[in-house]
Symmetry: C2
Subunit: 360 residues, 2 copies
DNA sequence: CTGAAAGCGCTAACAC
DNA sequence: GTGTTAGCGCTTTCAG
């Protein structure tokens, strides 16, 4: 008993099916389904009901082509494995899915991959409505080109000028670590994870380093004595760094590891040498990795999952059409609202890996 | 100097632009770009060159609509955070991206979410060409409906009848653990992570359990003495389970933890009680988690990242058009090729957490 | 408030 | 081999 042709209900229903079934035009169905204005309240109810009964939903591919909007958010990360990144992604994914967005994940192995994504011919704007960029440096001009193409941008871990971001205050992280260690009486200190080279940049290691040094200074400690070791933010790097530190004739009594993962490696090295963390040598990390409590690592906690969620929310918000109701009454342009910059809380979590300086 | 209209090169070029610029029809451009047959070799070269010069690439949204194919693969997981899942995803993502597929990630909190994805109106087939399902049970009829909709399916962690899969032999996992412990002289054993209820199913805990028991039996050990504790496969669960075991008047001398993460929790509990793993009580896990070596956990290793990569490859292979060149010479139907079922290798990794039974 | 019609950019028959 | 021409299913002016 169909309206137009007698096709049985085997195929997936299209907007036309719904239109004829509801006795309205496709345009009306389209409006009704998307909550656009200019639809009689009763009409809308009817259409929605019919659509529901028929199990109709707009074909995403078709609406993408027609509307140029994708209902998709892309998460860009250096690599998916690794606790930090996957946790952030998990937080973001939950929010996006909840809001009806598909979540695309792309791993950026090298800076090259980034430019590929950003290149004209990748059709970024045809694939996604917004980008959540995690711990990837986006140059200002890249960022602008992204938004000019109609793609929203939010970063977590570092800020991108003019765009929303979620991050922690990395200098304070360093300062908290320094305070804690100094209060325990330590004076021979070292850092694992420091970026030895460019000491003026604004990247995470540098900021934490600066904060740490600053913290020491404010306690009247000489900052030149702090030994630095690199460490690629992985377990291996941490272990090697600690080994190097311990091989020195006069090893530190406390070390600040810029990530928990490196701290784990450092702790392994201590164990291997029969030293016990918190007694023979104090170590403090950053993150509060899920595993930190297993090895009783003192750390500066950040709640990574919530960072991802917050970033996703900012992004979704940024993607809402510029204005809803009251178009600026007077002729003034709406003041270019400052993009939200969330500085997430951090917190010292004291466990067994730090203790009073051992008297020698 | 354009061919048709004088629009400057400001807008992204379409297939028509390329066609007129190359002096051929859009159909030819389409064929040439996609490597389809029936294009003169010289024409193809020319078209590709022109397209390259113009920075042209097919708009994904448009080709999805027209061709019904998405060049997108969807990874379905219980949750993204967690070492196991994120590692599998990382492996899959790398392969998919390499092959030119976009990677969609969807977290399945509950069984409900799965059915949502699978429901008609989600237009699964309009969003993705294939599914990699990680540790999610897909019912046979669900699986069939998926492929009937033209979406390929591969699972990792468990097999789905009639579809490619990547998994390990979980019974052997249990057996290896049993062998190791028995060889060290242990006789009072326990399992952490056992599924106490449905002992006949084919899920992972059950299989490992069965293998473990079987292994003991083949050494002539009574299987009824094995204490079972649940444990949700997380650190907390492992800790609680170990606590329960130790509170028993006659605690085991060795325990088989069905995952490394639970083993970590168990080790915490041992530490808290001043017991040392491998001396006072032996514990063996499964996975070879990246942190297992940090706590010297003996474990049955599986190489998780490669599982994800392998699954992605199987999927991509399965999505290739049924046949390329030599259509079956005689009238026979091509034998319905058995879907590949990869049983990945596992390996005992002995570290410090297991040792000879302590003499009391 | 609603409908008609013109595309969105590409692919896939079908002719030549 | 190559060109022509319908659509894919939806959104969006533009009239009423």
């Amino acid at each position: 008993m169909g309206t137009t042709n007698g096709t049985s209900r085997s195929k997936r229903s299209t907007i036309e099916d719904v239109a004829s079934e509801a006795g309205v035009s496709v345009a009306t169905v389209s409006r009704a389904m998307r909550g656009l204005p200019n639809v009689a309240i009763s009409t809308r109810a009817h259409v929605v009901a019919v659509a529901g009964r028929m199990g109709y939903t707009a074909d995403p591919a078709a609406s993408r082509l027609a509307a140029g909007t994708t209902k998709t958010i892309t998460v860009v990360i250096p690599n998916l494995s690794g606790w930090y990144f996957s946790t952030v992604v998990a937080g973001a994914e939950a929010v996006c899915t909840e809001a009806g967005y598909d979540v695309l994940v792309v791993g950026i192995g090298s800076q090259k991959d980034l430019s590929r994504i950003l290149s004209e011919q990748y059709h970024l704007e045809r694939r996604t409505d917004g980008l959540v960029v995690i711990d990837v440096a986006v140059a200002p001009d890249q960022a602008d080109s992204i938004t000019q193409r109609g793609v929203a941008l939010t970063s977590v871990g570092s800020r991108t000028a003019g765009h929303p971001s979620v991050r922690i205050d990395n200098e304070t992280v360093g300062r908290i670590a320094a305070d804690h260690l100094v209060e325990l009486g330590h004076e021979r200190l070292a850092i694992i994870g420091a970026q030895k080279d460019n000491p003026l940049s604004f990247d995470v290691p540098t900021l934490r380093h600066r904060g740490f040094i600053g913290g020491l200074a404010s306690h009247g400690l000489a900052v030149d004595d702090v030994r630095l070791e690199g460490g690629n933010f992985g377990v291996d790097g941490g272990q090697e760094a600690m080994a190097a530190l311990l091989d020195h004739p006069e090893p530190p009594t406390a070390v600040f590891s810029m990530s928990d993962e490196m701290a784990f490696g450092a702790i392994m090295e201590l164990n291997d040498r029969g030293l016990v963390p918190g007694r023979d040598l104090s170590i403090i990390g950053v993150d509060d990795h899920e595993f930190s409590r297993v090895v009783a690592l003192t750390t500066v906690r950040q709640s990574v999952a919530s960072h991802g969620a917050a970033a996703a929310r900012l992004l979704i918000e940024a993607m809402q059409p510029p204005d809803g109701q009251g178009a600026a009454a007077d002729g003034q342009l709406a003041a270019p609202i400052e993009p939200a910059e969330i500085v997430a809380p951090i917190e010292l979590v004291v466990r067994g890996s730090t203790g009073r300086v051992a008297q020698r």
